[in-house]
Symmetry: C2
Subunit: 245 residues, 2 copies
């Protein structure tokens, strides 16, 4: 049996946002690998082994998947959202680069999914309808100074912005600092939206101006979207026009 | 019968990248509205009217969809990729804002899809695995100077970048200018990937350095992805590490 590794995006939470090619890969798999809450989204069946691993062990998880594929298993690494956006795809290639040379001959595929910012944007309206950027606000893997620089330059560029991992218990003050920078660069009237548990039970969507935004509006389950100067509300929706004068 | 409008993302071309909630909406629709090649992806059936419209009539198309929903139709506006990324969702809200006040009471939903840059990233590996931006390089709806400014600031921020509509017959020289700016800001060794007809028959993926990139490598059917200084090749794949020092 020829093994393979697929890194598959399960979308933000609602099973209706899973693509059919991801469903197909899950049906063909012998082994599922991933962070505990994502693996728990997979229905158990005979012939399928579920491997739940903790957060922050992405490289070990990826190496485990590659090793099983080298032994002939059909492995799906499950990722929330899209695996290529702040998720497992880069970790897999890091493990590939650091690992056994024979892994380079493996059948490896990345199957995209609906990433949280695009699900949040859809539920809000179309706040990312013009040029935008996506920034991971966690400083686990990069210096905080670089995040501040990126926020300033993105504001000066007039990008709409989406933020992943805006705030955690271990770094409660940084998001407040990010809001200060955004107010300086984008102005207090720019709209900011907080999408918590997007597409999941208990989803909440909140939109305020940067002037009225406070750090406690975000946590690790929130995707934050900041508009550009033209972003506006129409009815219950938030959208960014396609045109900039 | 209560009408509704759904703006649905069909993904980049491969039907395996359509989500199940989009399939459900298409099954329930009475009317499909969209640009000709996207409407032609929908299977005809009894009770379903297909409305094909030309490119560059997004506002008229959106108003037509809203008007039909106000008459009780169940309308799906089909969009390539994700409707919220350089596609029909913003146009719908622009039409809503400019249109009949009674349209504000309509049931309007946006269903996300796999946008071209994320499909291209998945086929390439994980080039957008760190902070990135998405820029529409067409100057139909914004001044070219603003695009140049955004390219410079994005380079200075160290963002990976994805470009939509990089080049057309009506503006053949601008993409060459964009490459000049990128070489200045990012250096000639940064990797750039050209994904043409991604997920469609005849898909081609090409990765070179900025120093070796030429404008004729892109056309309107190409998504272009530029890495950051850490983006590298491993085997046949291109990826951007999660960590920045």
């Amino acid at each position: 049996m020829r093994g393979w590794v697929v890194v598959a995006g399960l979308g933000p939470g609602d099973d209706g946002m899973i693509t059919s090619e991801v469903h197909d890969a899950l049906e063909q798999a012998t082994d599922i690998v991933g962070y505990i809450p994502y693996v728990r989204r997979i229905n158990p069946r005979e012939g399928l082994t579920l491997h739940e691993t903790d957060n922050r062990v992405e490289l070990e998880r990826a190496a485990h998947a590659l090793d099983m594929a080298a032994q002939g298993k059909r492995v799906v690494v499950v990722s929330s959202g899209d695996p290529g956006v702040f998720a497992m795809a880069s970790a897999l290639f890091e493990a590939l680069e650091a690992g056994s040379p024979e892994w380079l001959a493996l059948d490896i595929r990345i199957l995209p999914g609906i990433t949280a910012m695009l699900a949040a944007a859809a539920r809000l309206g179309a706040p990312l309808g013009h040029d935008f950027c996506a920034i991971n606000l966690s400083d686990n893997l990069k210096p905080w100074d670089l995040i501040e620089t990126r926020l300033r330059l993105a504001g000066q560029a007039g990008f709409a912005m989406a933020f992943y991992n805006p705030r955690s218990k271990s770094r409660p003050h940084q998001f407040g600092r990010a809001l200060e920078i955004l107010r300086e660069e984008c102005g207090v009237d720019t709209l900011i939206s907080f999408a918590k548990d997007v597409t999941k039970p208990g989803q909440t969507l909140t939109t305020v101006t940067l002037g009225n935004a406070t750090a406690d509006m975000a946590d690790m389950r929130t995707v934050v979207i900041v508009g550009n100067k033209d972003t506006r509300k129409i009815g219950e929706f938030v959208y960014t026009p396609r045109r900039v004068e």
